[in-house]
Symmetry: C2
Subunit: 435 residues, 2 copies
Amino acid sequence: VKQVRVGLVGLGTVGCGALNILQKSAELMTQRSGCEIKVVMASARDLTRSRPCDTTQLELTTDPMAVATSPNVDVVLELMGGTDTAKSVVEAALQSGKHVVTANKALIARHGNALFALAAQQGVQLTFEAAVAGGIPIIKALREGLAANKIEWLAGIINGTTNFILTEMREKKRTFEDVLKEAQALGYAEVDPTFDVEGIDAAHKLVILASLAFGMPFNFEACYTEGVTKITQADIQYADALGFRIKHLGFAKQGAQGIEMRVHPVLVPKTHLLGQVDGVMNAVLVKGDQVGQTLYYGPGAGAGPTASAVIADLLDVVRLMAAPSAAVAPMAVQDSAVKTRAAARIDQIKSAYYLRISAEDKPGVLRGITQALADESISVEAMNQKAPANEGQTVDLVILTNKVVEASMNAALEKISQSAGVLGEVMRIRVDSLN
Amino acid sequence: VKQVRVGLVGLGTVGCGALNILQKSAELMTQRSGCEIKVVMASARDLTRSRPCDTTQLELTTDPMAVATSPNVDVVLELMGGTDTAKSVVEAALQSGKHVVTANKALIARHGNALFALAAQQGVQLTFEAAVAGGIPIIKALREGLAANKIEWLAGIINGTTNFILTEMREKKRTFEDVLKEAQALGYAEVDPTFDVEGIDAAHKLVILASLAFGMPFNFEACYTEGVTKITQADIQYADALGFRIKHLGFAKQGAQGIEMRVHPVLVPKTHLLGQVDGVMNAVLVKGDQVGQTLYYGPGAGAGPTASAVIADLLDVVRLMAAPSAAVAPMAVQDSAVKTRAAARIDQIKSAYYLRISAEDKPGVLRGITQALADESISVEAMNQKAPANEGQTVDLVILTNKVVEASMNAALEKISQSAGVLGEVMRIRVDSLN
């Protein structure tokens, strides 16, 4: 098994998240990539700080350049943020012939052209899935999944802070200032929220998406940027009355006058999926000439989601380092790791249930049904009696149950179907809140 | 430039779709992959049929085996469907040392284990993105984009026909039988609709997703399958009253008793994104231990979407054939194809607009505003006058306009802000229906 040595620049939330995955899911990472991936070194400004990750096995330094140039490191994960030092660090790593994985949207949007030229010259990879929309694999979708398509346009909710603010303003009728304070308290917004609320963070991401969509150099200066600070409660209510939600979107589009890159508030139809993306979640809608519209939704920030994208990039890099056997494992893990797993029978699953019972409209029927449920310790979440049109003495009883093992439900249904006054077969549909 | 020779097995909707992309977007495909991709050969049952694609440059045959074993073919696209002949064709192609791209869900779900073993033995690739959820790159997401994650569960709307039927039943209060007939007339459902409405097609796809999620051999027999034929109009209405939509879902889940694989109707909350996926669209929700929930949405069938996935697979295969320089082009096209594109200025874009104008509540004010809009040929889609609480003589005028070039809107806004009775700045937000 080939061993790959990783150096971490930055041990903040995302750095620790990435370290945790590589340590705690080490076996899965080897199964995915066919290589053993070992974090050997890390840099952080303050080494004395307590952190939610185990750095005891690592060579630690306060100097990011030491990681970037270390002969013991094959791949550098740049997770420090900022553009000045980060740029020097990434340049040094590329110049040292190391592959680099970054989560740094500002770095790519502002200095990506020079950095990719350097990477190409050095014959190494520079990857950046985590720079846009956190855990959503949107870069991979644009570069690979949708590669058969000419991209016509894309539109995305790519800043969680502004989406959280607009969602709270709408749902709780709160003011912009009030929600911003809460977002800061929750850690969704920085102490200086300008980057988020004025749309600069979203513009960095949009510029990256636009360049991939249209095969052009990054051009941050050409992006029109407008924030959410002027949106009032009245606007949100008026938009709602007209059938719209106000969302802060990034657009990249082949327009009549050239490529449009713009970040600004937009009224979108309530019924559109993008109108339903609430809170800190992100989503990107892409229109391709072949596939039509596809949408990618998920968390746009946070340790787990961002580290998920960083590690996905790392696994891609690692697979290529092991080339020519660089193909993705067909079953998502190496063939040797594929194994038969016990399959659950359907009567072993746990689910809530919707029941529709046709019954005679007379005393005692309900008691028989509820007794059958109680016998199997099934509790009822909601019950409604419905009188279907033109059915005389028959009623529909609609019951929502709490979660129960399906075998118990089957036993209860058996009793219910034999219960006095119950007519025909009971309709049973499983209920899932998908969370 | 390396040349790759492709053989097509099947010239139906998807086969022609794939051929069209490879011919009409040939330059883009070379920009994406760094190789020249040429379709050299194709098989079809009836060569005399007229088709929506140009086969004049191809060697044509009625014998799929001739394509599978041709010395002139490097990669075979199996787009014929069915499991018997298709299996023999794919086996023959793999045995001849050719890579195979297939869209055949039944083939993979039922014979995938043997086929992947054969592909591994031959050192070639067998890919199948198009087998699940059409144009949505969900296989790539599971194998690569989410590779840092242990998958906890996934749930998907993976059969467009049943989703169309359930959507029409709910929206138009039609019966199952009635909508099924329409689906057949529209070509969404086969003459024998059993595979779709009994959930077998969804089960094929779910089994594939489950095996990738949990790293286990395909096990179609272990999948619990229940269709939508028993769902009545009453169930849909009762579910709606309780806050739910009925969707036909595939679930793969690590449960207490083993891996659950099940396809059946489910009540899901109306407010959940999956509850909002209507018509023939597909969507897959995936829960990973690091990233949390991500969702992938798009068209599940059709020539363009399915061919989009087939060609994405082909480009992956082609890149690896050109290894060791097998890295994905960082800018989605080869560096030599990256070029600066004209950028549109924000006043050149075309958009509909929402305007909120604070004005005095007196005669003539509205005339000044509508005159300013008319002067710039801006037509009004909707107009409402709102009286904000406690504001005396002031009213809010809310206007939705039709699409207009932003420069015209800017000119109109200039006039409106100087118009008699208009107070303060006009609030302007762009409106987009995202279609």
